[in-house]
Subunit: 307 residues, 2 copies
Amino acid sequence: MSKAQLEQLRSRFAEGRSALDTPDINQMRQGFEEMLTQFPPAPGVTFEQADLGGIPGRWCIPSQVADARVLLYLHGGGYMVGSSIAYGPMASQLASRLKARVLVPDYRLAPENPYPAALEDAVRVYRWLLDNGVSPRSLTLAGDSCGGGLTLATMVAVRDAGLPLPTGAAIMSAWADLEASSDSITSKAGEDPLLNGEDLRGMAGAYLGSASPRTPGASPVYANLAGLPPLLIQVGSAEILLDDSTRLAARAGAAGVKVRLEIWPEMFHVWHTYAPVLDEGAEALDDIAAFLDALYAREKESKTVTA
Amino acid sequence: MSKAQLEQLRSRFAEGRSALDTPDINQMRQGFEEMLTQFPPAPGVTFEQADLGGIPGRWCIPSQVADARVLLYLHGGGYMVGSSIAYGPMASQLASRLKARVLVPDYRLAPENPYPAALEDAVRVYRWLLDNGVSPRSLTLAGDSCGGGLTLATMVAVRDAGLPLPTGAAIMSAWADLEASSDSITSKAGEDPLLNGEDLRGMAGAYLGSASPRTPGASPVYANLAGLPPLLIQVGSAEILLDDSTRLAARAGAAGVKVRLEIWPEMFHVWHTYAPVLDEGAEALDDIAAFLDALYAREKESKTVTA
């Protein structure tokens, strides 16, 4: 990263925050969508609206797809904002790097639909993929921010339902403790240019409704993560959510999950969305693609051997 | 890993432990050396005894060396056992993968030479390398167990002395908290086939002498790690030292160090030494080589640009 890249971004953050600074939830959603679609999608992809067994969503299809690969992407936005439109650019960056069709479902949002609405929808979409011929060997999951937490909660629910798990998952800047009890909520408060504890607690309240902030399905730092497939966990060092990720890594690893945790110096919440103008954004996406690519390749190899 | 591989290893562990079960420190050192040299070195390497400004050591030289690369390897053995001979096979595995000359110094051991003898020797060897024309751009560090902790303590001392830091470091199953206060010391006690808290505390006492177990130079989980180069931290999920690594990763990352933590399911203390008969051992060494290789390559590129 050049210092110039980072300085330019800091001024954008202020704009972004003011776009979200409205009591009207629909205006907030629109502001978030405009912020995240400021960069065009990666070249060569096409988008297709989809009905995923009653849940709307959008496919992002790259010009080349390897081995029927599918990535199910659970978007961020504090369980309150974010959409398959907002995450078109992010989906396109992953689709083209991974040579996978990327599906971004529009799970139901809070406050209209509190926990467990988002989780139920994510699990239903996962099941819909299996029912529609997607092999778990060809399927990986990814998500950012609340979508990172939701990715883990979804895999736990999938495991508990006795369904086959995906081949791996990558999570970026996960929000995984809705109690906001990570040390970094305070220790990184002065460094984080995007989030603060108060906002987190507000969004947590809207999503949780009457559920406890320690509910494992909402706060997967408290979940039993045993049996999950290999995980890549990426987080920036300038995030109040840093320790949501270090705690997840420690907990998943102790439960016997293969874990890779990457901590990126100076990076801020979901810096990946700035990949078109920030070297580390592109590099972090490259790492995700390489990580999932190796898992797809290994599954394909083991299938060949056992076939 | 096949289950058969792991079962075979479990019987070796028992043999290994009994070889070390002697009150005679010289017998213990000999037993450790025999255990670690049970596999031959990787093909094509040669060894050369060296005098590193008064500290003995041994070079492992692969048939091909890329860009004058040097890896300084700080061996494990609880600061009490271990040697450049014992670590010949490990050095050879890294040398041939990384196309680097690997230097294993025989730093002074406890109980004859308590803290800070090992650290002083490691820093002297580092300085000797710089004085003898090794560019920090071509220099990386690695270490296992106490050598993992020593690798971090050495870099902190190098930083504080105002010397140029190496290009990166990889540590395996680090012993980084001589107070033995990691949760995993108890939570993984039933899973760890090699180490127990009592042994750790005994070795810590021998090394620390009169120093506090929280001395950052002996227990780098308590050190200020700011400014260190990129770190790869590998640990097994079946280790009582698991949380020495997760704590190091969290602390280094929070200080702005680029960190990759890998937690390997079912793996035990420094499983890398079994690379010739254990797939995960070879794969973990491959990861270290790829990680350091990318750093060497990046340094070379930046040198080309600034030249």
